[in-house]
Amino acid sequence: MRKMFTPLLVIVAAMFAAAPIMIAQAPFESTMGLIQKIFYYHVPAWMAMYSAIAVCGVASAMYLFKGRTDADGYAVSAAELAVVFGLIGLVTGPLWGRKAWGVWWQWDARLTSALLLELIFVAYLMVRKFGGPGSEKLAAATALFGTATTPFVYKSVDIWRTVHPKTSVVPMLANSMPGAGRPFALSSLAFILLFVVLLTLRVKLARQQHTLDELYLAQEDR
């Protein structure tokens, strides 16, 4: 993993450099025009967020049930990344919506579910920060419950919204736009790799902090 870090970094950098060129050359979508190009960053941001949530959920379960302390490092790193990528999605979404639908926020099922997930993982970070000693376990439980509630949140918000008249739906662009596939694949891959790079970095920080804490404890015991 260590040795792959620098080449991975270079690949991510190259992909992000190439992305704007490919995105600029992608054909315009017929109903939304220019603004639809936000989709190349918006959707991959969600993909990265869901990956982060999955990692956090699994790592939290391993920490809580198996007591693996390294899993805790992964859990907190993934939670931070879920918040960051979620924020990206939650900002680009309304920017798109303002132009495409005319309103900043209209309780669209996907955005609302994402907002709730974002809140859950912000709560995770708050528990770790303000919960006092032993807050790692509490946060792990939060992540577990949060991950478990995701399908329920999505389903209930979805049903809740279909009762109301839909002003617009994000069309499935892959079918209507043959030229959109490659830039989209590139952006998705770039974001996923960015997620991996950031996760590795943050886990390293978590490990260093853990070493520091152990050293402090060892000193006190002397």
Binding site: F130, G132, G146, K155
Partner: protein, 226 residues
């Protein structure tokens, strides 16, 4: 053994509560004040918006429930009885079930007061034309809310900032319960009552309950162990 322990915990809490009725009475009164605040917020020209009754009912349940959870476990923390309970040679999950049953009883009494009150104030007497469905929605929602709430309140007992952390953690996770409860009760307000929608939401609520009671039973032990 399991059931006996759970019922013993329930009896203990019941006995303590019956002495002063402190948590019950204050929670009830708080719920009523909640309803009044919402009344003043939403009523215009003597009428509330359509379906407001459903929303107000569930918000009052959620807020009053959060308070009740905090107060019940604060009592445990204050007398350090939780540690004593955990030291007992009883299955930990049974402690959780006992606490959950106590919470359900408390919320049940609160709802027994709130539902008629809200129906009275907001012209929602249509609820009582389908009492079984209404009961099913209430039970489904309350069990879901209480299951997650009891676990979180128990795990936060020794944490700092526990009073504000409980709602921060609880509300986003129990949003499906709120949506299901509100939409289910609102469906019963339609004329004629929309039984299909209500039944659908009842199904979702019970699925939520099963998943989260199970998850809570699993996580209670590792969480409460130091």
């Amino acid at each position: 053994m399991f059931l006996r322990t759970a019922l013993l915990v329930l009896r203990k809490d019941f006995a303590i509560e019956m002495k002063s009725l402190e948590v019950l009475l204050t929670t009830l009164f708080f719920a009523v004040s909640c309803v009044l605040v919402f009344a003043f917020a939403f009523v215009k020209d003597g009428r509330a918006p359509e379906d407001a009754a459903a929303g107000i009912l569930w918000i009052a349940i959620a807020f009053a429930g959060t308070l009740a959870l905090g107060r019940t476990f604060e009592r445990e923390r204050y007398s350090e009885t939780l540690r004593a309970l955990l030291l007992a040679p009883a299955p930990r999950a049974a402690l959780y079930v006992g606490k959950l049953l106590g919470m359900l009883a408390l919320l049940g009494v609160a709802e027994g007061l709130l539902v008629p009150l809200v129906a009275f104030l907001f012209q929602a007497s249509a609820w009582f034309s389908r009492p079984l469905l209404l009961l099913a929605v209430l039970v489904g929602g309350t069990v879901g809310f209480a299951a997650v709430g009891t676990l979180f309140a128990a795990m936060l007992v020794r944490a700092r900032s526990r009073d504000v952390l409980l709602p921060i953690l609880l509300y986003p996770i129990t949003i499906p319960v709120i949506i299901g409860g509100v939409r289910g009760t609102a469906a019963l307000l339609a004329s004629p009552a929309d039984e299909v929608t209500a039944t659908m939401w009842i199904g979702i609520l019970f699925a939520f309950d099963v998943v989260f009671v199970t998850l809570s039973l699993w996580t209670f032990e590792p969480l409460m162990t130091e």
